[in-house]
């Protein structure tokens, strides 16, 4: 088990490194560099040269990359190229928001959706199952901004509850205050992840239900509820955990639309701003964080799957 974790972490490290090179090259392919973007309309040959030298953009690409890498490994993320502010400061503020929103969404959304999905698998073809399947397919098809708009229309404009944007500091808030503060983004995101989770957990359980040992259990006369909860569910946990992990990673890295719609500052908005200003130092630091998040979450998912299903310890 330990060797497996070590091997996974090693592969993860290589992945992170490869991603950092790809991101670096990506920011260089885009037209214009940080100096041009920062000076905007007032760029002239002289002040461009001065600013490039100050930001280190006059050096060859490999030197720029290496100096970034060395600093990053030493824990120094450097200063933003677009505003000279320390990147650690920019990220710290937004990381908190992102963690709170994704954490709360996972806390509320995941248990509910998995439970709903498993219940649908208990009574396949029932009215409950049909309604749930129909709703979740509809929600999968609905983009976030549409769901968000509907929620704002209903709760804020129609019922007069809360605000259309999330503003103000979260300092010193308790759990319920945080939920209230981020109520609309969390609800939107819950809908987004719920649809996928419901369908996947239903499918995973039904898939296991078709296997011979379940048939045996049915023939023995064990009640269906018991079969699902005691025998089928454990075997279905692998795929379910994987879907949960993918959704968690999405919650941390990909909620740009929700962040912009509700106008709170999170990591996804920050990386877009970084790309717009060609701030490769900022983009790269964020890229590393996102990539590391993916690697760690997927690792945890795999370990969980293996623990739940011993057969997977011995891959064929």
């Amino acid at each position: 088990m330990l060797s497996l974790i070590a091997k996974r972490l090693g592969i993860g490290l290589i992945t992170v490194l490869a991603v950092s090179i790809i991101i670096f090259l990506g920011t260089k392919i885009l037209p214009g560099d940080a100096a041009e973007l920062r000076l905007g309309q007032s760029a002239s040959a002289e002040n461009l040269a001065v600013l490039r030298e100050r930001l280190g953009l006059d050096k060859p690409y490999w030197q720029q990359y290496l100096s970034w890498l060395v600093n990053f490994v030493q824990g120094d993320m450097g200063n933003s190229l677009s505003g000279d502010t320390p990147i650690s400061g920019l990220i710290a503020d937004r990381y908190q928001n992102t963690l709170i929103v994704s954490g709360l969404t996972a806390l509320i959304g995941v248990p509910i959706s998995v439970a709903l999905g498993v219940m649908a698998a208990m009574f396949p073809g029932s009215t409950y199952d049909r309604v749930l399947t129909f709703t979740s397919v509809t929600l999968v098809a609905a983009p976030e901004f549409f769901t968000a708009t509907l929620l704002v229309l209903f709760f804020v404009l129609f019922l007069g509850m809360g605000s259309t944007i999330v503003s103000g500091s979260t300092d010193g808030m308790g759990l319920f205050e945080l939920i209230q503060h981020f109520a609309l983004p969390i609800t939107t995101l819950c809908f987004v992840i719920a649809s996928q989770l419901i369908r996947m957990s239903r499918a995973a359980v039904l898939n296991v239900m078709a296997s011979p040992y379940i048939e045996m259990a049915i023939l023995k006369g064990i009640p269906r509820r018991r079969i699902i909860l005691r025998h089928a569910l454990l075997n279905a946990i692998g795929p379910i955990v994987n879907v949960i992990a993918l959704n968690l990673a999405y919650l941390i890295t990909g909620v740009i639309v929700v962040e912009i719609y509700f106008s709170y500052q999170g990591l996804a908005t920050l990386i877009v701003q970084g790309v717009q200003t060609r701030d490769f130092v900022l983009v790269q630091s964020l890229g590393m964080i996102f990539c590391a998040t993916y690697v760690v979450i997927m690792l945890i998912a795999d370990i969980a799957a293996i623990l739940a299903n011993p057969r997977q310890r011995h891959p064929k």
Partner: protein
């Protein structure tokens, strides 16, 4: 309205002291008779005295109340936000600058200036030396008294080869700042500039403390003190109890950006924010219809245009440019795109909001016959004319589409190539033969034309060369005779109107929106939020 003899006092023309006296009487419950007998004691007639009572009473109802908090939503913000006045790059920087700092002069709604941290502004006869007497007793937020050293330090940050100031071009005729004594400084100019005090009233020339280099939590003399500043997240200013003049009425101002215009509008309509920047034209009618919400529109000289490069063969055909000028349906752009919150452009940058606007140049209108004549003369036939456009400002793309439609009617082929705003200034602007632009207003006609129309200007986007134009433009800076000045400015505008590759169909107002209880709005036409000048005077009617 009754007109009075010119030398009769009315409320607006009374001295500040007398006005305050009248206001003081009204606020303490003085009757009409009290005010009239005081005024008539000063030698005014009964009619004039009565009118003063009315105005003073109205002014009393508009007397700012102290207290309350406002939430102000700008448009863009991000990691590049700064509190260093020399580096301000966006509207939201400008607004914060006015909250936390003061400047030597302050721009007024008609784009002249009034002294602010300078008590008195004196120039020599040919406008080559300007003396600023510094107001005594003004304190910075940390209690230090403002002196000449602070002013010299702040001004020197914009001078010299190595300055990083975004506004150095406005003061590059200043050769040095000299300290006369602790409360007097002098600017020595290498060439005359009658408009220097106006330039010094703009966004970047805020007075910081002598020696200040760290602007993460700066100390200024402004009406509000920095309580929180997180780039791209939020800024909170709390009242400076020690502000040297009237103003600083609110307990607190919270300021941040909401980039998405729909989210910004929703937040405003729902009351989550009290003031919003850049109301999208489509939403104007909606805000007008909403209870307790107002449109805050300031007529300005900001304009949209097509820039045809005069140095490239594919875009310097004068008849083709003239045809495009005659094909612009200006009325329709103002009505359709700006929903009436704008004014007709006349193919030059100096709109009616400028002090030096020339009203004598005939307005160019949609005229397909003239356009067809020039089109035929140009000999371009069915060759496609590409115009690159992007949503860098409202109306930028639409002006091209309207033009395209009108052009088609006379057989002229225009191809509108829409690109993203990302990287516009480094990849398209001043590179493509014809591109669609959006310009902000500048404080004076001379600054605007020096910036973008002088032959050697860094932003001369049409690359038009005209030595005679340059000569007049530089000469007029030292002209103090109003008639001469007007004539020279008219010549300049007429030259652009007829000869330049600038096709400017419309001026847009700066359109923001505010809740009705927000008072003390400014109307300086050089930016959103009344030229970003409103912070000191904002107050809440319901406080």
């Amino acid at each position: 309205m009754t007109k009075y003899k010119l030398n009769e006092p009315d409320f607006e023309s009374m001295s500040l002291e007398d006005r305050q006296k009248a206001l003081g009487m009204v606020s303490k419950g003085a009757t009409r008779r009290d005010v009239m007998s005081w005024m008539m004691g000063l030698g005014a007639t009964a009619i004039a005295s009565g009118s003063v009572f009315g105005s003073a009473t109205a002014a009393w109802a508009n007397t700012p109340k102290k207290g309350g908090r406002l939430v102000i939503a700008d448009d863009q913000h991000g990691p590049a936000d700064t509190l260093d006045p020399a580096l301000y790059a966006s509207s939201n920087d400008y607004f914060r600058g006015r909250m936390f700092f003061g400047s030597l002069t302050r721009l007024t709604n008609d784009l002249s200036y009034e002294p602010e941290l300078a008590e008195e502004v004196i120039s020599n006869a040919d406008a080559t030396e300007w003396t600023f007497k510094i107001r005594r007793g003004v304190e910075f937020h940390d209690g230090k008294t403002l002196t000449a050293d602070d002013v010299i330090y702040s001004m020197n940050r914009h001078l010299g080869e190595n300055t990083v100031s975004k506004a150095k071009s406005l003061v590059d005729m200043v050769s040095e700042w000299v300290k006369v004594n602790d409360y007097e400084v002098k600017a020595v100019l290498s060439s005359p500039n009658a408009d220097l005090p106006i330039a010094l009233g703009t966004f970047h020339f805020k007075i910081v403390q002598d020696g200040a280099t760290d602007f993460s939590n700066p100390v200024g003399t402004g009406p509000y003190k920095v309580a929180e500043f997180t780039p791209g997240v939020r800024t909170i200013g709390v009242r400076n109890e020690n502000y040297w003049t009237d103003g600083a009425y609110l307990d607190e101002i919270e300021h941040f950006g909401i980039g998405d215009s729909v989210a910004r509008l929703n937040a405003f309509l729902n009351g989550d924010v009290d003031v919003m920047a850049n109301l999208p034209p489509k939403a104007i009618a909606k805000v007008q219809a909403a209870a307790g919400k107002e449109v805050w529109s300031v007529k300005s000289g900001a304009y949209i245009n097509l820039a045809c490069r005069m140095d490239l063969a594919e875009s310097n055909n004068r008849d083709m440019i003239m045809a495009m000028k005659h094909l612009m349906d200006r009325e329709r752009i103002v009505k359709g795109v700006f929903k009436g919150e704008g004014s007709l452009g006349n193919d030059h940058p100096i709109g009616p909001a400028y002090f030096d606007h020339c009203p004598d140049i005939p307005q160019r209108e949609l005229d397909p016959d003239k356009a067809a004549y020039h089109f035929k003369k140009s000999g371009i036939g069915s060759t496609t004319i590409p115009i690159v456009a992007s949503e860098i400002g409202p109306g930028c793309v639409e002006q091209c589409l309207f033009l395209q439609r009108e052009a088609k009617k006379i057989g002229m082929n225009i191809d509108v190539q829409k690109v993203t705003t990302d990287g516009w200034f480094s990849t398209v602007w001043m590179k493509a033969p014809i591109s669609a632009q959006s310009w902000n207003m500048r404080p004076t006609a001379n600054i605007m034309m020096s910036l973008a129309f002088k032959s050697d200007a860094a932003w001369n986007e049409t690359f038009h060369q005209d030595p005679e134009f340059d000569k007049i433009l530089v000469e007029v800076r030292g002209v103090t005779d109003p008639a001469k000045r007007k004539e020279m400015y008219c010549t300049l505008q007429e030259k652009i109107h007829n000869e330049n590759g600038c096709v400017a169909p419309a001026h847009r107002n700066y359109v923001d929106a505010n809740a009705s209880y927000v008072k003390g709005l400014a109307h300086v036409p050089i930016n959103n939020f009344g030229g970003s000048e409103c912070a000191p005077t904002l107050w809440r009617d319901d406080a």
